[in-house]
Structure formats: structure tokens, C-alpha cells
């Protein structure tokens, strides 16, 4: 694989993958906060 293809792939898949992964984690965390709300602790 030539350097151009490699660099371009890393740029697209790396940046896109990191953004998508952390975006998905943000959604999961928001869901977790709904499933385990703070009021649960006070009981």
C-alpha cells in the first residue's frame, strides 16, 4: 500500500472512527443516566 492511500485511510477511518466511537459512548452515557438516575441513590 502506498503512503498516500495509507495516510488518507488513517485520516478518514481514524478521525471518523474516533468521532463515531465517542459519539456512541456519549449516547450510551446519556442512556445510562436515564436508567440509573440520581434519585435512585437517595433511597
Amino acid at each position: 500500500m502506498d503512503n498516500w492511500t495509507f495516510g488518507f485511510t488513517m485520516l478518514i477511518v481514524g478521525m471518523g472512527g474516533t468521532l463515531a466511537a465517542l459519539g456512541a459512548l456519549a449516547v450510551i452515557m446519556a442512556l445510562l443516566k436515564k436508567i440509573f438516575p440520581v434519585k435512585e441513590e437517595s433511597n
Binding site: 495516510g7 472512527g17 456519549a26 438516575p37
Partner: protein, 382 residues
């Protein structure tokens, strides 16, 4: 007998006779690192052992990195097999509070944008003729995360370990100098004044959420990027120890004894790779330049993403917090708070910036994990 005395005396000066021109320069560099660590308080926990290691390895004939040298033993024990950075991560996880991030999970995205410099720098390094894996090791300086940079370079470009490590830790400590001009250049005064206390979407996270968070991140991250699981798993293990609240002895050991001992060994091992003959090259200078570029690009991408979030939320997000989406914790968050206060003395961005900053910690590890998995997918690493 006279000859024997002369021979004995010549043995005493052998170190001086065998000095390479690069050795005195590197000894001076080691002293400079010690000065910065001791007198200027710049990352002293690392710069002191690194500086001392650099001095030791540049004393000729001591052979401390030879087959039986004690520095080689330490290096093989935890750097060559990437164990030390992982143990450091357990300590970092145990010391990190992800609460501010969990309060506003959208900030996670800033932690992703703050890693874009890694991938842009890989492209730049390739353009300048670096080999693929060398470019990856150089790009990862942009993670602004010492253990990640050491893990990746020790594994895939060990000949660059010294330069990459020195660049990573030096620029991390220079974040308060590097970031503010970029933040000011990319934002308007009106944007810098935005008060984020108006942001209504933040709600505190429960203890259960904080306990589940490291487990979910480990499983999720491991499934999508298994090659980087050691990085993710160790930082999340440390955080689980802290948040579960039932293993306080292990938490204290992770954040104190283990982190301290490993930091010492890691520092002196990195210093031991700074042999002048291998370190003083044009390649090292280029790596230092690329490392600087990587951190500048991280800041640019983070602030631009912050501006985009500002527009999307109708002006409720202060774009300055985008600069905290890097892994340099907590320096980047402090820089944002300080800059924000300059333009609005009632604006306390710290907790939002800490959220972005801890997002950057997860982001840097996730970016490295994804990068390694992409490399494996392309067949570049086994």
C-alpha cells in the same frame, strides 16, 4: 612496575578518552531536563528520572544499556513489553473523576475532536518521507498523553521512543503556552464571553452510572478496537477501582505506590534511550517539530468543533472548552478557565473544561486503539 601504574592510570581516564562529541551535549540536555523539573516544576516526576537517565547513558563504557546493564534490565522489564505505560494508566484511571464528563456526555465529542491532530500529523509525517509505523508513532504525540505515546512507539517504532517520549511530555507541559494564542486567534471576544452556566442540559451522574461507565467503555471500546484494549482496559480498571468504593487499598496502591514506582522506572528507562549517537539526529528534530504541530492541530480542531457546538446549541457552548478536548489533564482545563476569566470575570468554565479534558483522556486512548485496529485491518501490524 612503572608500566603497570601507567596502565592503571589510563584505565581511570578511559571514560574521558571514549567520549563521543554527542555525549557532552546529551549530558547537558539531561542537566537541562533536571533543571526544568527541579527548579521550574515542569513535570518533575518524569523529567527528573528522564534527565538522570539521559546523563547516565551518555557516560561512556559504563554499558548500562548493555546485555547486563541495570538500565537494560529495567527497560526490558516494562518498556520493551509495554507494561509500564499500562500500569501508569491504572494509576491515571484511579486519579481521574469522570463525573464532569458524565454530567454532560455531549462533551465527549470535544474529546474526539481534540485527537484529530494525531491523524493529520500522521499524514504530514508521511509527506515528509517517514515510514508508515514511524509516522504513526510521531502522530500519537498528538494524543498529548505520555503513556499512550510510549506504548505505541515502544511497540511499533522503538528506535523513536526517546524522541517521541521527550516530545510528548515536553509539549504536555507547554500546553499553557501553546494553546492560548490559538484559542484567541480562532474565537471572537463575544464567543469567549459566553457563560456556560446557562447550559441546562447538565445533570449530575449517579454513583451507579459512574461505576457502570468504565465497564461499558471497556466492553464497547474492546469490541470495536480490540488491538487497543490494553490501553482502554487499564485506565478503566483504575477508574472502576476508584468508583466502586470497596477496594480503597487497591485504589490507593494504584494511585500511589504502583504509579510512583512505575513512573520512576519508566522515566529512567526513557532517559536511558537518549544515547547521543542515536538521539542527536535530524530525525529527532523533525519529530519534535511534528509533535508541536500535532498539539497545535489538536487545539485548532478542538476549538473549531467547540465553535460548531456553539452554533448548534444557539450560542450556549463557549468554544474555548474545545481546547480542553486533549488529554493533558488537568492543564488544558485550567488554561480554558484562565482564558475564559480574562473576558468574563464571572464565567467559570472549569467544570465544563474538566469534562472535555477527561473526554480527551478517553478520546486519546480510543483514538490510539482505533488507530492500532485500523493498522491491523490493513495488515500493517500483526
Amino acid at each position: 612496575m612503572f608500566d603497570a601504574i601507567l596502565n592503571g592510570l589510563s584505565g581511570l581516564g578511559a571514560g574521558v578518552v571514549n567520549l563521543h562529541w554527542s555525549n557532552p551535549i546529551m549530558i547537558a540536555l539531561g542537566c537541562l531536563l533536571l533543571f526544568l523539573g527541579i527548579k521550574k516544576d515542569v513535570e518533575p516526576l518524569l523529567l527528573v528520572p528522564i534527565g538522570f537517565g539521559a546523563i547516565l547513558i551518555n557516560i561512556p563504557l559504563a554499558d548500562l544499556m548493555g546485555e547486563e546493564g541495570f538500565l537494560r534490565a529495567i527497560y526490558n522489564m516494562g518498556v520493551a513489553n509495554e507494561l509500564f505505560p499500562l500500569l501508569i494508566f491504572i494509576g491515571i484511571g484511579a486519579m481521574t473523576d469522570f463525573g464532569p464528563l458524565l454530567e454532560n456526555p455531549k462533551i465527549f465529542l470535544l474529546g474526539a475532536a481534540g485527537q484529530f491532530g494525531i491523524f493529520l500529523t500522521i499524514g504530514l509525517a508521511l509527506l515528509f518521507g517517514f515510514d508508515k509505523l514511524d509516522a504513526v508513532a510521531i502522530g500519537v504525540i498528538g494524543a498529548c498523553d505520555g503513556p499512550t505515546a510510549i506504548y505505541v512507539s515502544a511497540r511499533y517504532a522503538p528506535h523513536l521512543l526517546a524522541a517521541v517520549s521527550v516530545a510528548a511530555y515536553s509539549y504536555m507541559s507547554l500546553v499553557p503556552i501553546i494553546q492560548p494564542p490559538i484559542m484567541r486567534f480562532l474565537t471572537t471576544e463575544k464567543e469567549r464571553r459566553i457563560n456556560m452556566s446557562e447550559l441546562s442540559s447538565t445533570t449530575p451522574a449517579s454513583k451507579t452510572t459512574k461505576i457502570v461507565f468504565p465497564i461499558v467503555v471497556t466492553i464497547f471500546g474492546g469490541l470495536i478496537a480490540p488491538n487497543g484494549l490494553p490501553l482502554l482496559a487499564t485506565i478503566m480498571l483504575g477508574n472502576l477501582l476508584k468508583e466502586c468504593g470497596v477496594v480503597s487499598r487497591l485504589t490507593k496502591a494504584a494511585e500511589n505506590e504502583i504509579a510512583n514506582v512505575v513512573t520512576l522506572f519508566l522515566g529512567i528507562s526513557i532517559g536511558a534511550t537518549m544515547d547521543g549517537r542515536a538521539f542527536l539526529t535530524a530525525e529527532t528534530i523533525m519529530i519534535l517539530v511534528f509533535g508541536f504541530v500535532a498539539i497545535c492541530l489538536d487545539t485548532v480542531c478542538g476549538v473549531l468543533f467547540g465553535k460548531a457546538m456553539c452554533v448548534m446549541t444557539g450560542g450556549k457552548v463557549n468554544p474555548l472548552i474545545g481546547a480542553a478536548g486533549i488529554s493533558a489533564y488537568p492543564m488544558a482545563a485550567r488554561v480554558v478557565q484562565k482564558e475564559g476569566l480574562k473576558y468574563n470575570k464571572f464565567n467559570f468554565l472549569l467544570m465544563h473544561a474538566v469534562g472535555a479534558n477527561t473526554g480527551g483522556q478517553v478520546g486519546s486512548v480510543m483514538a490510539a486503539a482505533i488507530m492500532l485496529s485500523v493498522l491491523k485491518g490493513m495488515g500493517i501490524i500483526p
